[in-house]
């Protein structure tokens, strides 16, 4: 066996080891119920902002404190705290991917990804163009705008 083959095998084994360990650190996408079921565990919570409930944000008091209620597709609600201002497109988003942990009765996010209605969807949704509240279309090339801490 040539030297180069040994190195090849070692490197490939290394790459596979790295990937296996990477797969072990992955987390899950969760609903409110399943996120609540694993307190203290880092999850991706999929829900949307419940506009019926009050939102707390006062930049004068504390620009790094946002609290609101999120509701998932099953109708379950959860209190969310985010130590940042409202992420971009927050009001517009039809879904939020909130990364964080459920602790002490609330979900504390590290980051929030807003998912906006894409133009290919609003084609089907058929908002009529004369209407002022036509949804803005977003580029699919830049899938989601992540706001990070």
């Amino acid at each position: 066996m040539k030297k180069i083959h040994i190195i090849l095998l070692v490197l490939i084994a290394g790459a596979i080891a790295v990937l296996v360990s990477f797969l072990q650190t992955t987390t899950t996408y969760d609903t409110v119920a399943t996120a609540k079921a694993k307190p203290g565990k880092f999850v991706h919570l999929m829900a949307k902002w419940d506009k019926a409930e009050p939102l707390e944000y006062d930049a004068l008091k504390n620009p790094n404190y946002l609290a609101f209620t999120a509701i998932d597709s099953l109708g379950e609600k959860i209190n969310v705290v985010y130590h940042n201002p409202k992420p971009e497109n927050f009001e517009l988003s039809e879904k939020l991917v909130m990364k964080g942990k459920y602790e002490d009765g609330k979900f504390v996010c590290q980051s929030i990804q807003t998912k906006c209605p894409s133009k290919y969807k609003d084609q089907d949704a058929s908002k009529h163009p004369g209407n002022t509240d036509t949804k803005t279309s977003y580029n699919n090339n830049e899938q989601a705008i992540t706001s990070k801490q």
Binding site: Y29, A59, F90, P129
Partner: protein, 864 residues
């Protein structure tokens, strides 16, 4: 039925040319294919002529499609869906081009356009390779043309037509106002166009000059990866390995230069117009274009090894096949919507997904098709591909992972077939040879790319196997953690690689040549680590040490390659393209390590006053700071003041004037934001930055007062305190200096049993003046009789005394926001980011020099 005001001609012309380009590219692919396979010179020439003619027609058609779509956008013909969705009357003309490539159809057009340009150059210059290479280019053109054809075959939608009319696009189906008698079941009103006043506009984030030039360069890069792929396939097909490798080198350098440039222009765009405070986020879209580039770089190096020594031919073919396959994969990732976790589209779905995936299957299996021994084997592979494509359509949902097995089996078949075709070399490379270390470098780079793409493909695995995995807690770190190790290895190999000679190198020679660069880089690296310092401790000491090592290795790469440029008796810059490119690459890595390792958040809420204020903010101090108009705040070494704002004349865009002052710097930044854009509540902010040679100051608006809702809704927050306690508010703190209670008030109208309470409070604005406030409360038992509110206007603070019990007082504090104008900012300092950008420019420059040199060398060879 005619509709008032429509301009149907541009669309008809456009779609005619879409169809023509589809047909002509197929004819070209077929004719070129026959030209390669015909034995007879006369047949060959007539097929060649047909192919050439068809390809020219394809190129003309693509230009015509381009022109028609541009016409529609420039003249705001909103009867076309594309113009309606991507532009508006107020869009500045320079952004019409950005609007052109905002949509999937436009970006596909851009890609085919570059294929046409590159194809014409090949027809002109690469006579020997024209037929086989152009067969593959035309075939790829055919696939791209299907993506904009927009027709239905048995209910399966093929492509998306950019010339579709708004009224045909289904957007009016639920819009009664657009239909006769306001009834959606009735036809569309003939005067519907009079109700469409303006288009939907371009996404504000894309209204940036980098978005005008980044996509064309990136797609030129994408398009140019097809050429090394086509050369590799042509080489396998015609079995002329040496010639194909030699001719493909300049094309590979070209692809590396422009794909690299395109990717980094995207990074620059992200840095200039997105708010995540950086240029790279390991976003799937970014990774998907980086991976083909890395594989291409690996391919270039193994290609050079082959040319000099005859080793590494198999891996060269593999790398070139994979680099284009991964370009198609990246298109699939970005265009299929598979990255949006929620997307319910399966692979075998109708619409574009199936088509995009078919594109991938076909190009994956195209590789073994050309690596096959003879035409009989090719026939079998073609049939297998057809069966597998159909199989994927029906089985993707039945057998988990089926599409992936189809792809993997294609790649494995290719490896097996090339191994049969190309005999293994029996000789062993010496560990003191350049090729040995070059090969290891290529391999490490390739494996690094594979690790990135597997990490990126989590959403794809979710779809394939119906599982639920999400990225880990610190996803970016998961990439950095691995790639920093790659940077160490690659840095060292880049530094020493060129000092080795092919075949074998003597130890004395190496020591003699490497001594000075090693010493110099040790000094520079020590200087950086000791004086400039990187103390990135967020991920622990182990990672920090890796950063240091990577920095040392890449400083070494920069110095050693700079030194190598000047080795030899006569310095010929044209021969040193490789070293220049390596130097640039080293600088890129050094720039990444320095700017990310030393990135500093300026807007840290370090004043301490807010830490305990928000009910739950036990977290670390926040990274956003609120600036009240006219009140200076400290950010790092700067005094920052929000001076005022001004509105864009035509758009709902507001510019905020932010003054930065420090001892030695004085400048103003104008971050801007779209406020309540298009009637949608919310804020879309664009950053602004000040560039210095050694650092950037970068800021953007993260929150604004909502003026429409600005009735005074803030409430008194009650604080139960003892005398001497401190209460914090947003701009300072207050101390309860004295509490007193008194019966028998000497005030008229009150009885003896009424008790008066008073509180003396000193309000201290942080870094500002202090105010005295005296609060008074008069009670009878528990009944409140009189309460004096004290307002401190300059602090927009309202105070009142709610209750006093013994030593404890309840003080109400209200911060009224309606009198205040403020912005909330996030600001960063990026040190040494220009090292990164300079590295990119140098690397691209080096690759181009190298390309020109190789082209000239080929010319000389041809002449002799």
């Amino acid at each position: 039925m005619t509709y008032t005001g429509e301009h149907l001609l541009p669309g008809q012309i456009g779609h005619f040319f879409v169809v023509l380009s589809l047909v002509s590219s197929l004819v070209a692919a077929f004719a070129y294919f026959k030209a390669v396979n015909s034995q007879n010179i006369q047949d060959k020439n007539s097929w060649l002529k047909l192919g050439r003619g068809a390809f020219v027609i394809d190129a003309v058609s693509v230009v015509a499609i381009f022109a028609a779509l541009l016409h529609i956008l420039f003249h705001h013909l909103f009867e076309y869906r594309y113009a309606y969705q991507h532009s508006s009357l107020s869009l500045e003309p320079k952004y019409i081009l950005s609007a052109f490539w905002e949509g999937q159809e436009g970006s596909t057009l851009l890609w085919t356009f570059w294929h046409c340009v590159l194809g014409l150059i090949i027809i002109k210059r690469e006579k020997q390779w024209e037929a086989p290479v152009m067969a593959i280019v035309s075939f790829a053109q055919f696939f791209l043309a299907t993506m904009i054809i927009g027709i239905y075959i048995f209910d399966v939608k093929i492509g998306s037509n950019p010339f579709i009319l708004l009224r045909d696009s289904g957007m009016f189906d639920q819009a009664p106002a657009m239909h006769i008698d306001f009834d959606v079941t009735k036809p569309i009103r003939t005067d519907y166009l009079s109700m469409i006043k303006d288009g939907n506009d371009l996404n504000p984030l894309l209204q940036n000059y980098w978005m005008v030039i980044h996509p064309p360069v990136l797609f030129l890069g994408f398009a140019s990866t097809l050429i090394p792929f086509a050369f590799a396939m042509a080489g396998l097909w015609t079995k002329k390995f040496n010639e194909c490798i030699r001719s493909a080198i300049p094309w590979t350098l070209f692809a590396i230069a422009f794909l690299g440039l395109g990717i980094m222009m995207g990074a620059k765009w992200a840095y200039e117009s997105l708010n995540f405070g950086g240029y790279w986020a390991w976003d799937p879209v970014e990774n998907a274009s980086l991976v083909p580039w890395m594989i291409l770089v690996s391919g270039l190096h193994t290609m050079l090894i082959y040319k000099k020594t005859g080793y590494s031919l198999r891996s060269t073919f593999l790398f070139f096949a994979l680099s284009f396959i991964f370009v198609v994969y990246s298109t699939f990732l970005t265009k299929s919507g598979v990255l949006g976790e929620s997307s319910v589209h399966a692979f075998a779905d109708i619409g574009m997904n199936g088509q995009l995936f078919l594109f991938m299957i076909v190009f994956v299996w195209l590789a073994p098709f050309f690596a096959a021994k003879n035409n009989k084997q090719r026939g079998i592979i073609a049939i297998v591909t057809a069966i597998l494509s159909l199989g994927t359509y029906f089985l993707a949902d039945v057998i988990p992972g089926f599409p992936m097995y189809v792809i993997l089996s294609g790649v494995i078949t290719f490896i097996v077939l090339t191994n049969k075709l190309i005999p293994a070399s029996q000789k062993e490379e010496s560990a003191s040879s350049r090729e040995f270390w070059m090969f290891i470098g290529s391999l490490v780079f390739f494996l690094a790319a594979m690790i990135i793409i597997v990490q990126t493909s989590l959403p794809v695995f979710n779809k394939l196997f119906n599982i639920n995995t999400a990225p880990g807690e610190d996803n970016e770190f998961k990439y950095n953690q691995i790639q920093v190790l790659v940077a160490i290895i690659i840095g060292i190999l880049t530094a020493i690689g060129q000092y080795f000679k092919y075949k074998t190198t003597s130890r004395d020679f190496l020591i003699k040549k490497l001594a000075v660069p090693t010493l110099v880089s040790a000094l520079i690296a020590t200087f950086i680590l000791v004086v400039i310092k990187i103390n990135y401790d967020k991920e622990g000491l182990g990672f920090l040490i890796n950063i240091w090592l990577a920095l040392v290795a890449n400083v070494y790469a920069v110095v050693a390659n700079a030194a190598y440029i000047f080795t030899g008796s006569k310095v010929n810059i044209w021969k040193r393209g490789g070293s220049i490119a390596h130097l640039g690459f080293g600088l890129i890595v050094v720039g990444i390590l320095l700017s990310s390792g030393k990135k500093e958040v300026l807007s840290l809420n370090t004043s301490g006053i807010n830490v305990n204020f928000g009910k739950e903010s036990k977290e670390k101090t926040g990274e956003n700071l609120t600036l009240v108009k006219g009140v200076p705040m400290t950010m790092g070494k700067y005094q920052v003041t929000y001076m005022g704002d001004s509105a864009h004349p035509k758009k709902q865009q507001t510019y905020f004037k932010i003054d930065f002052k420090s001892k030695d710097e004085n400048f103003t930044l104008w971050p801007n934001a779209f406020v309540n854009y298009k009637g949608n509540e919310g804020l879309m902010a664009n950053p602004s930055s000040r560039h210095y040679w050694n650092h950037d100051v970068f800021t953007y608006v993260s929150a604004l007062p909502d003026k429409s809702k600005n009735t005074d809704t803030s409430n008194f927050v009650s604080h139960k305190v003892n005398a001497g306690d401190t209460i914090y508010y947003s701009r300072g703190y207050m101390i309860v200096e004295k509490l007193a209670g008194k019966d028998n008030l000497p005030i008229e109208g009150f009885e003896k049993t009424d008790t008066g309470y008073s509180a003396a409070i000193k309000v201290q604005e942080l870094n500002g003046p202090s105010y005295n406030s005296d609060l008074l409360l008069i009670k009878n038992k528990d009944r409140m009789l009189y309460q004096l509110q004290d307002t401190i206007m300059s602090q927009s603070l309202v105070l009142q005394l709610n209750d006093v019990k013994g030593n404890k007082a309840d003080i109400g504090v209200k911060e009224s926001s309606n009198v205040l104008d403020y912005v909330t900012l996030k600001a960063y300092k990026f040190p040494y980011i220009n090292v990164l950008w300079a590295g990119v420019v140098i690397m691209v420059f080096g690759s181009i020099i190298s390309m020109v040199h190789r082209i000239n060398k080929l010319k000389v060879q041809k002449l002799s």
